[in-house]
Symmetry: C2
Subunit: 282 residues, 2 copies
């Protein structure tokens, strides 16, 4: 059985570090503050917000949730963002996506101040992730993957690292972040012809395809580090990842479970980004 | 002997297409115009500019070169860029890099209008390359690689495509552009442990490392498409690529020579971007 890469442990260790930083900021009279903006009702967003608010509270970060009506116009939405950009008490802004169809993400993404854009919505932060430039914010989920690797002392340098999935929220930015740490990167996706051939070469395998239990035992190299970014629900409503954990875990060297893996770290990474934003603005 | 992917032929075919487009624009009274901005003297830049001006002229694009003094301040440089952004007669702006040290590229890159940024300097265009969003400009060199593939009907879809080199002017943007066309992408670099193992898996191999003749015969799969982005000079001052052409060409299925390969296409791609910019602005 592979060793478990325990997301809760990673999040807990990071949380303790962040609490110290928040204490220092609060002693100087600065209260790190996150604004979460949601347009309309979405059950998945509501669950995410609940977790983020709880985690921020534990760390000492103030959290304001702005709930906006489903039929809000794009201009009204932009006004809200501009007001929050200008509000010196707000250090980080997280806009819940997807937005309703009358609000174009390709338009409004330019409106959030890059300095407050703690989940990498603004293209300026996307560009920084691609170039490896410091001082920006990567999306929280790939950042959570990097936190897990760092926590367990897994250095991707020179390692054959295979990512399954090429989304803008995980696969692509994660490829760039791992490249910055000198991994040899392969990006696979639905059009990859022999996926198993690619994945079984991986010393570090990242599953971020959004397809339930698609990574089987014969697709994984003995002893590999397996990071499962997937969040899916099986026919019994049980949460599971993109990796068939029961099959794969005996072969893997180290593996993240779902739940309790990457997903357990993202809200703490969000808190980390808010604190970084707060420090840059103070 | 592998078939030669002839850059001059690709450039010539593209040129004929672009001339028709320019004729149409000129009939409407619009003269597509490129501004090239250079600060100080650099022999390599001068050679590039000469080629670009010649090629643009053949296609019917007006070309203005602004030569600025080596000791120009950052603010003065930004003023020049802002003036050209506002000038309706200029459709594309190409800033020759590197800039002198008193001008920070990380600062001034935000100042060029993304709509006129025909060589992908502004982060907004970098972000569009990463996300695959339309309406931006990729850097000219990786775009030239894509032109060659398209011209010869080489579809990267599902192909094992290995890029050696991870620069922001070639390796990384090219990875994203090939990913958009559904290639399975591997990015290698100086820290890759067994480079030959990676490159010899490639159905399409792109050498963009900037290291003279580093790709040897035993690193290339029989029948592979080999694209050489390198421009180096040997001990006799002869231009050669990152691929050891004499050794590799008998094994390769198709291969670009140096000179006469990718480098022969870049200035025509630049012209293409100027025409696209002109159409978007007219």
């Amino acid at each position: 059985m592979g060793n478990i890469l325990n997301g809760k442990e990673v999040a807990e260790a990071l949380k303790q570090k962040l609490k110290v930083e928040v204490d220092e900021l609060r002693k100087k009279g600065v209260v790190p503050t996150l604004s979460i903006v949601i347009v309309g009702d979405r059950a998945d967003s509501a669950a995410y917000i609940k977790g983020a608010v709880k985690r921020c509270g534990e760390i000492g970060i103030e959290c304001n949730v702005t709930e906006l009506p489903q039929d809000l116009s794009q201009n009204e939405f932009i006004e809200v963002i501009h007001r929050q950009n200008a509000d010196k008490k707000i250090h980080g802004i997280m806009i819940m996506r997807p937005l309703p169809s009358q609000i174009s993400e390709d338009v409004v993404k330019y409106e959030i101040s890059p300095a407050k854009d703690v989940d990498c919505f603004n293209p300026i932060n996307v560009s920084k992730v691609m170039s490896g430039e410091e001082g920006g914010f990567a999306p929280c989920t790939p950042s959570a993957v990097m936190e897990i690797l760092h926590h367990y002392g897994i250095d991707p340098k020179g390692k054959k690292t295979v990512i399954v999935g090429r989304s803008m929220v995980v696969g692509r930015p994660l490829a760039m972040m791992l490249l910055k740490e000198n991994a040899t990167i392969t990006i696979c996706h639905t059009r990859t012809i022999n996926l198993a051939e690619e994945t079984s070469r991986a010393e570090i395998l990242i599953a971020a395809a959004g397809k339930i239990k698609m990574i089987k035992k014969d697709m994984v190299k003995e002893g590999a580090v397996v990071i499962d970014v997937g969040i899916n629900f099986d026919e019994n409503g049980r949460m599971c990842g993109d990796v068939d954990f029961d099959e794969v875990s005996p072969a893997a060297g180290m593996i993240t479970p779902v739940p309790g893996g990457v997903g357990a770290v993202t809200s703490t990474v969000l808190a980390k980004h808010v604190i970084e934003a707060c420090k840059m603005q103070s």
